[in-house]
């Protein structure tokens, strides 16, 4: 059988890769891609805790589903913001979006 540690290490690695993407990418859409990776890492953790704990406690699965909803909401609003900014400033580079600097 697969020990729990494998899933946890995998999700930690996926989370770190997502974090790297969020911090290092220029393009705002690519930053959102990194956020998706991080949310998926969290979900792997939640589901594996459900499986390795008491399976009749559905908290892990319910939380994973809530994370799906949050991810959908985040993508919907995030991409809408990116498109809105693109229409005004004609750029999607996160560093160039500096309307709120002063």
């Amino acid at each position: 059988m697969i020990p729990l540690s494998w899933y946890l290490i995998l999700s930690a690695a996926l989370f770190s890769i997502g974090l790297f993407g969020v911090l290092s990418r220029k393009n705002a859409v690519a930053i959102l891609l990194g956020v998706e990776l991080m949310l998926n890492a969290v979900n792997i953790n939640l589901v594996s805790f459900w499986r390795y704990g008491d399976v009749s406690m559905m908290a892990g699965q319910v939380f994973a589903i809530i994370v799906f909803a949050v991810a959908a909401a985040e993508v919907a609003v995030g991409l809408a913001l990116v498109i809105s900014v693109y229409r005004r400033l004609d750029t999607v580079i996160a560093d160039e979006i500096d309307m709120m600097k002063w």
């Binding site: 059988m1 697969i2 020990p3 729990l4 540690s5 494998w6 899933y7 946890l8 290490i9 995998l10 930690a12 996926l14 989370f15 770190s16 890769i17 997502g18 974090l19 790297f20 911090l23 290092s24 990418r25 220029k26 393009n27 859409v29 690519a30 891609l33 998706e36 990776l37 998926n40 979900n43 792997i44 589901v47 594996s48 459900w50 499986r51 390795y52 399976v55 009749s56 559905m58 908290a59 699965q61 319910v62 994973a64 589903i65 809530i66 799906f68 949050v70 991810a71 959908a72 993508v75 919907a76 609003v77 991409l79 809408a80 990116v82 498109i83 809105s84 693109y86 999607v92 560093d95």
Partner: protein
């Protein structure tokens, strides 16, 4: 090495490899396609964890909706010149160090935990995970509030997104 372990290792390799491609590849459409590979790998993991419902939902929601939205957004905000140059910030190595430190810290925290190398108990026979999930989602003792709040959250996201992106002046 048993069969599930081999499957897990292959899947983990695919997930991490494609995740690395997501954060490093220059072409954004390719990044989105690699993200789909990652998401599919995660769905396979859910199937390995006997969470069939979540595996299917992962494909339906992430690949069927979120990934499509990403591809649309990339095509809507696309500039040919932007794809040529480097796609990473100048201080990308610093982000790399931070990410590596995060992984190291998480690993250090986790291996100190007593339940780290726990193995799964056998799945109870005749256990209907989907039915249980439905019960948990709507029974007042469990998660009915998150269930309804999630729908309100999505409604708010829809209203907000429509307002932000497409407010005609």
């Amino acid at each position: 090495m048993t069969l599930p372990q081999i499957f897990f290792l292959i899947t983990a390799f695919v997930i991490l490899g494609s995740a690395l491609m997501v954060v490093t590849t220059r072409n954004l459409i390719h990044a989105a396609l690699w993200l789909i590979v990652t998401l599919f790998g995660v769905a396979v993991l859910y199937a390995l964890l006997n969470a069939g419902f979540l595996a299917v939902v992962q494909v339906v929601v992430y690949i069927g909706a979120i990934a499509i939205l990403f591809i649309f957004a990339v095509m809507l905000t696309r500039k040919e010149m932007r794809d040529r140059g480097p796609q990473l910030n100048r201080g990308w190595w610093l982000s790399g160090v931070i990410a590596a430190l995060t992984f190291g810290g998480l690993f250090w925290l986790l291996q100190a935990w007593s339940g780290f190398s726990k193995t799964a108990a056998d799945f109870p026979s005749g256990f209907d995970a989907v039915g249980q999930l439905g019960n948990a989602l709507v029974s007042p003792q469990a998660f009915v509030l998150p269930f309804e709040v999630a729908s309100v959250l999505l409604l708010a996201a829809l209203v907000g997104a429509v307002y932000v992106a497409f407010n005609r002046k």
